[in-house]
Symmetry: C2
Subunit: 457 residues, 2 copies
C-alpha cells in the first residue's frame, strides 16, 4: 500500500504543544477582556443548513462556503437526476463566520436576555486561496451586542477589542471607522448610479489589495464611468489623506456630500468618536471613508483594525440591523466586531511579543532500579500535590533521563532510587541551576514552588 | 421570502451561556488532570484528507465520515463523468475521532518527544443516527501515550481518566478491561473460523445494545454456527458473570483457552491490574472479556468506562501499535483513552453533580440621568479593577434596570446618578441581600470581593 501524505490539508495546520501555548495565551487575554466587558459565551455547531448560510455574505462569500456531501440514499437520489448540480448534492455547510449563526440563534431562542452581549471564539472555514495569515480553517473571536440601537453598543464593542489589543502589547493599532450610509452617500455624490452601488462597494473593498489604480480599473470593467470613478476615489482616498484630523475630514466630506443620509451618517460617526474617547479605544481610531468591508449584511457604522506590518486587518465588524430579521419575525438591531486570531498570532510572533510560556510538564520523574508500581505510586503522590508530572517510562541511565527531561522543557526532575522509595523520599533537581536536594515526598511541591521559573501555560 | 428553520441541524446543538459554563467546568477539570499527568496539548484540523481517515475505523465507521463536496472546476469535472460515484465528489472529510489525526501527526513531525504524551479536546463528527447522549457533532477528550511498549502507558492513561471522573464527583464508574488477543483467543477457542473473527468482533460489539440473544442472532445471520456462538457467549458472558473476582475469572478463562496468544494476553491483563492498584484507577476496574470495542485499529489491551445509568459508555480506548505505521515508515507503539464530553455532561446533569456556576456578568451598571460618556467612563474604571461589568444601555426606571440585572444572573448592581458621577462615587447593591452602599469608584472591587457569592465561570 502506498503511504498517503501526512501533511494537514492545504490551508489548515496542526497545532503542536508550543503553538497551543501561544494560542491559549492570546485566547485567555481575549476571553478575560470580553468577559470583563460583560459579554457571555455562545457556541454554535460547525455546520449549518445551507439555507442559513447562503445569501448573507454576498456572492463571493457564498462561493467560499464548504458543503457537506449528501450520504447514502440522499446521494443516490441526487445522482440519479439528469443534470446534477451543486445544490442537489448538499444541504449542509461549514460555518463561514460567527455572525450569521448568532443571528439564527437570536431568532430561535426567545428567552435570551433583551440586550444579549455574547462573545464567541470558534473556528470558521472558507474555501479561499491560502496566503500569509490566511487559512481555510481559522479562529474568529467575536463580540456582539444584540438589541441596542444606540451607539453605546458600538462604543462597547470597540472598547473591548481595543482593550484586548492593548493588553496583548499592541501599541500601534488603528480602528478605522466608516459608515455604510456615508459610503453610499459618497458613491451617490460621485455620480455612480444607485443600481451600481453594490458593484462599487465590492470594487472598493479591494482597495487595500490592489490600490487606487486597481479599483479604478475594476470600476471601469464593471461599467462605471471614468468620471464617476475619479470623483469617487478623490472623495474617498485623496481627501482623506489630505485631511489633518478626523474633524477636518468630517468638515470636508460634509461639504462635498450631496446626500442627507450620508450627512446623518457622518454625524453619527462624530458622536461615536466622542463616545470612544471614554473607552479603551481613545486615541486609537481614525475616520476612513474608503473602508468598505466585504460582507453584505452591514447597515450602519463599520470598522476594521489595522497595524502597519500587516496588509490585511486584525479584525473588523459593524452594525447589521437587518440580518436577524432575515431569520425571525422581528427586526432586532445588532453590532459586533471580530478579531482574527491567526492574524494576531502572526504579528505577535514576528514582533516577539509573547511572554515566556512553559510547554512541557513541570517535573520529569526519573528512576533507578525501581519497580513500575513504585514509580506510578510516587507519580500519583506528586500529582496529588498539584504538580504536573511526566514519568520517564523505561529503564535508562540517569543522564539520559535527565537529558530527556530537559529536551521536553521540564524545569525540574525528580529522581526515585530504591533508597528514596524505601524512605518515602524523592531527590529533586532544578535542571537550569543544577540545584539538587533529597526531600520527603510530601514536601516536593513546596520545594519546587519556591524555585518555579514561570507560570503554567 | 419564506423563513428557513432557525434550529441547529439535526444531531447538533447550540450552547447557550449556561450550557457553556457547565461544559467549561468539566473541560477545565479534564485539562487540569491531563496536564497534571504530564500530557501536553495538540490540536489538528477539522477536516483531513479522506485517504487519512478511511480504512482505519472499519466499514461501519467509514460510512459515517462526513465528506466535503468538491468545488468549482473540480466539481464540474467530477459531474462530467458518466457514472459519478461518492468518491469522485470529495477528497476531504471531517475528522471522525482524534486518534487517527494523532497517528498522522506522529508520522509527520520527526522532532516530537520520543515519548509523546498528548491530550486533545476537540469536536469530532459522525453522520450517525442521533440519540440519547449521541450527537453528530460531539467533543472527545483524549489522552494518548506514544512510543511506550510497556504497560506503564496503559496504567498512566487509565489512571488519568479515573482521576478525572473522581474529581468530577463520579463514585461508581467501572473501567472495563479486555485485550484484543484474549478476545481472539476466546473466539478461536469457541470454534469460530479465523476468517470469521472480524465478523464475530463486530457482532460482539453490539452486546450492550442487543443483549446475548441479539448477538446470537447476528452471529447466525453472519454464518457462524450455533454451537460456536453458544460456546463463545458462554465463555464471554456466562463465565464472566459467574466469577466472583477478576482473579477467579482469569483462572477460569485460562483453563478454557486453547490459544497461547490468548493466555499471554490474560497474563498481560493481570500485570496491568496489579499496576492499576498504584494509580487513581485502584478499585475502579473489572475484567470484561465480552468487551469488543468497535474500532478496527486496536491491537492490545482495550478498555471502556461504564456507569450504571447510561447504556453507552463514558469513554474508552486501548492499544493500537499498528496505526502509526500505516502513515509512516516506522511502527510506533501507542495507547490511549477517550472521554466523551457529552456523555459525562448528560450523566452529571441528570444526577445534579454541578457546583454553582455564574453565567452572567458580576456587576450590572445602571444609571439615572447620566450621559452615555460618563456611563462608559465609569464602566471602564470598574473593568480596570478586574470586575466583569455590563452596562444597562438605555434610559429606564431604576427598578426595571435592577430587575434586568437579576434576570441575567448578575449578583451585584452599580448605580450611577448625576450625584455619584460628579463625586467620583458609585452606589453598589448586592441583589440577593439588598445590601447597598455608596463608595468611591476605586473601592468598588474591594466592596464586591468581600461579598462575592461564588467564583467566576
Amino acid at each position: 500500500m502506498s503511504k498517503a501524505s501526512t501533511k494537514p490539508p492545504s490551508g489548515t495546520r496542526d497545532f503542536l504543544p508550543a503553538d497551543i501555548a501561544r494560542r491559549r495565551y492570546v485566547v485567555s487575554v481575549i476571553e478575560t477582556v470580553y468577559q470583563g466587558s460583560g459579554f457571555v459565551p455562545l457556541e454554535t455547531p460547525s455546520f449549518e443548513n445551507l439555507s442559513t448560510l447562503l445569501g448573507k455574505y454576498g456572492d463571493e462569500g457564498d462561493q467560499l462556503v464548504y458543503r457537506l456531501l449528501h450520504r447514502r440514499d440522499a446521494l443516490k437520489r441526487a445522482l440519479e437526476k439528469d443534470d446534477v448540480s451543486e445544490s442537489d448534492l448538499a444541504d449542509l455547510g461549514l460555518r463561514y463566520d460567527l455572525t450569521v449563526p448568532l443571528a439564527r440563534v437570536v431568532a430561535q431562542y426567545r428567552d435570551l436576555p433583551r440586550f444579549f452581549k455574547r462573545y464567541q471564539i470558534q473556528p470558521v472555514w472558507r474555501a479561499d486561496r491560502p496566503g500569509r495569515g490566511r487559512f481555510r480553517e481559522f479562529y474568529q473571536c467575536d463580540v456582539d451586542v444584540i438589541g441596542v440601537t444606540t451607539l453605546i453598543a458600538e462604543a462597547e464593542v470597540l472598547g473591548a477589542v481595543a482593550e484586548v489589543l492593548t493588553r496583548l502589547g499592541f501599541e500601534d493599532f488603528t480602528l478605522r471607522l466608516n459608515h455604510r450610509a456615508l459610503l453610499r452617500g459618497l458613491i451617490e455624490t460621485a455620480g455612480v448610479a444607485p443600481a451600481d452601488e453594490q458593484t462599487a462597494l465590492v470594487a472598493l473593498d479591494k482597495l487595500d489589495k490592489v490600490g487606487p489604480d486597481g479599483v479604478r480599473a475594476e470600476l471601469r470593467t464593471r461599467g462605471i464611468s471614468d468620471d464617476a470613478a475619479a470623483l469617487l476615489l478623490e472623495l474617498l482616498v485623496e481627501k482623506a489623506s489630505a485631511a489633518k484630523s478626523d474633524d477636518e475630514l468630517t468638515e470636508v466630506l460634509g461639504a462635498a456630500l450631496r446626500s442627507d443620509a450620508g450627512r446623518a451618517a457622518l454625524d453619527q460617526l462624530s458622536e461615536l468618536r466622542a463616545l470612544l474617547d471614554h473607552t479603551p479605544a481613545k486615541g486609537r481610531y481614525r475616520l476612513s471613508p474608503e473602508l468598505a468591508r466585504g460582507l453584505g449584511y452591514y447597515t450602519g457604522p463599520i470598522f476594521e483594525i489595522s497595524v502597519a506590518d500587516l496588509a490585511g486587518s486584525l479584525g473588523g465588524g459593524g452594525r447589521y440591523d437587518d440580518l436577524i430579521g432575515m431569520f425571525g419575525k422581528q427586526q432586532i438591531p445588532a453590532v459586533g466586531c471580530s478579531l482574527g486570531l491567526e492574524r494576531i498570532l502572526l504579528v505577535m510572533e514576528e514582533r516577539g511579543m509573547y511572554p515566556p510560556l512553559r510547554v512541557g510538564p513541570e517535573l520529569m520523574l526519573c528512576s533507578l532500579d525501581v519497580e513500575p508500581a513504585a514509580l506510578l505510586e510516587t507519580a500519583n503522590a506528586l500529582r496529588q500535590q498539584g504538580l504536573s508530572v511526566e514519568v520517564f517510562p523505561t529503564r535508562s541511565k540517569l543522564g539520559k533521563q535527565l537529558a530527556y527531561a530537559d529536551s521536553v522543557g521540564a524545569p525540574f526532575a525528580a529522581i526515585l532510587g530504591a533508597d528514596e522509595a524505601a524512605a518515602g523520599d524523592v531527590t529533586l533537581k532544578q535542571l537550569a541551576s543544577g540545584e539538587q536536594a533529597r526531600v520527603a515526598l510530601h514536601e516536593a511541591a513546596g520545594w519546587i514552588a519556591a524555585r518555579a521559573p514561570d507560570a503554567a501555560p
